[in-house]
Symmetry: C2
Amino acid sequence: MKPTELKPMRVGLLGLGVVGGGTWKVLTANAEEIARRAGRRIEVVAVVARDLDKARRLVGDSLKLSTDGMDLVRDPDIDVVVEVVGGDTLAREWVMEAIAQGKHVVTANKALLAIHGNEIFAAAHARGVMVAFEAAVAGGIPIIKAIREGLTANRIQWLAGIINGTTNFILSEMRNRRLPFAEALADAQRLGYAEADPTFDIEGIDAAHKLTLLASLAFGVPVQFNKTYTEGIAALSPEDLRHANRLGYRIKLLGITRRRDDGIELRVHPTLVSKECLLANVEGAMNAVLVHGDMVGQTLYYGQGAGELPTASSVVADLIDVARLQGAGREQRVPHLAFQPESMADIPVLPMAEVHSSYYLRMRVQDRPGVLADLARILADAGISIGSMFQVPHGSTEADLIFLSHEAREGDVDDAIGQIRGLPFVRSEITRLRVENAL
Amino acid sequence: MKPTELKPMRVGLLGLGVVGGGTWKVLTANAEEIARRAGRRIEVVAVVARDLDKARRLVGDSLKLSTDGMDLVRDPDIDVVVEVVGGDTLAREWVMEAIAQGKHVVTANKALLAIHGNEIFAAAHARGVMVAFEAAVAGGIPIIKAIREGLTANRIQWLAGIINGTTNFILSEMRNRRLPFAEALADAQRLGYAEADPTFDIEGIDAAHKLTLLASLAFGVPVQFNKTYTEGIAALSPEDLRHANRLGYRIKLLGITRRRDDGIELRVHPTLVSKECLLANVEGAMNAVLVHGDMVGQTLYYGQGAGELPTASSVVADLIDVARLQGAGREQRVPHLAFQPESMADIPVLPMAEVHSSYYLRMRVQDRPGVLADLARILADAGISIGSMFQVPHGSTEADLIFLSHEAREGDVDDAIGQIRGLPFVRSEITRLRVENAL
């Protein structure tokens, strides 16, 4: 059986932007290596793009080119549809129709799956087709395969990841070049790491889309983007980065999900992590995910989380999986969300008040005797132990106080902050950041 | 279809040592989670162990217990054989017979596969069974799945890994506690990180077994342990670690394989790596593998490379893959060595003289004018550029010279060393270590 003897798999490409163009390039440049592995060729036979002239310049004249996704997903010549248009409206219609047509789907669209994943995976399961999405989380890192297939022997207990390169780049710039947020963001935009409208990235929404998917794979729960707590990095000040540094920490935007007895934590927010841990040393636009399984302990996966070719690397890996398994039965394929659909768990997502974490608190106070005693009393009464504290004078009459707490319940911390806010000697809003010591 | 509705997969366990016992524990402790994922139960029905009383205390009385592996692999009640006895004699006979009997095999045995892999995989392919070996490289890290399935879109260009925890522990101890090799080894033995006979680990043989397998997966070449260059860590002195540190490097035992136009490099040796790179910061008994694909760039995989439960985590993940794919056709399974057997490449393994690397050289010389000029001339004539040099006085008449070269051909370096060795002012053997700057 030579690689060319099996029938080529015919791909329809929905979208020829960054990831779509990358997918074309990878399939073209590495056609031989891919056939050596997959045992058959993978050929793009149809492309949907907004600008057909531009598309023609990249892929030539020999393919079917169209601007209409519905045409493509109904084309009987196509075995598998690659959806890389993004968004959750047209993409959803096209993907659902592709499934209805019995076509396999490979997508890089985290927003689509985070919002409509349960519907899409149920339809795919019922129709007996695969929806593969390695490229939707952490770009070129095969993190979905690692969790869904590599760590299957484990009860996964928690995972924490840097899963948005834009914000990690901005935070690296803020720290290394001591820039305020707005300047670091402008840099990121100038260099192409952030979009003109950076909302999805800097508010943590993109990371929350991805975290939602990882949590489903880790714990076997439905996709629940609407229950994911999301806090971005726009409010971070360079002085918080500096104070964190003094305490032995760096600040990273992490997606964290953890299984507890009473439910799962599901949250994206800026987080203090010890300088010693590997995640703290993931710089620039790189991504990394740390996964803790009960048997394997900690494993870490690191690489480029975005970009044309790294993301296409995952799209094409999925295509090779689909090529291999298209003739297999459903029970021979990995379940979409790692667990058999009838074995999904109904574990509640915990409200943030029930989250347990350590906390970093910063506030400006009047600099006079008794202030620390009053604050310490309020925190102690709320059951919050302070691990370390230091103060930075501000002028002659005020000072900034920085506290690092031991693990506490977030609801208790918020109650204490509410009380502190009302004290006469407190002169600023209270900055509260979460600290992860388990990494 | 409930998880219990599919027939359980029946496992025969060859060996109940560290990994075998761990496999039993993982399958028992996480039986529910595994069934939720795999869609069926995975049950150990027979065990071969040397000490049956001890075996009974762990697994109870309800299984078939025996001391004879041939009995087990011929048992018609068994679907899949887990080989965790180690070694390459009995293990080979039992694995080959299991394959002949049409049983799938899961093994953690890198020595077996590094030496007899080509024979074993060919037999398995011919008989239509799977031989899975995630646990054979880097313990609990799903590195084989990552390379074989996650990075399939790439032409892999090189990989470099810390794939032996014992030596990484010893090197960490030598550096952090400034111990000579022998004391760090004794520590490792006391703590259970090194065996009474540590030869396989400290001479790099275990790492070479693993590297051999990774190279096959990366490039699609046959398993070629006998062509793998192997150099251990016993000759390293604390002063080399200190000098490396001064130059901005740490010393790690790396397995490195790289594809070049004229062949592949395949080598295990102590290596200077920049302190900034992630591999340099992998401490203690942890493992990590850095893989460079042409499309994805660098990706890194990190975790526990040995130990009862991490290794069993990989054995059981393989069992779940086998459970899923046992009813599938051969073309629906991932090829054993990542590439279709008829597409394996015949790329030669390069002799070490043809390897290109940077080099660290240390020698003791008579401390008098002209010495450096003579040395620099010999190196220059051999085409070797020096990037940095420093000297450390030794008494009043001698000094240690440390050179760091730019990239050079190893044969040229060896020729130069041969000439230097004959110089009248050279007072010691010449220490030569390789430096990797691409990581």
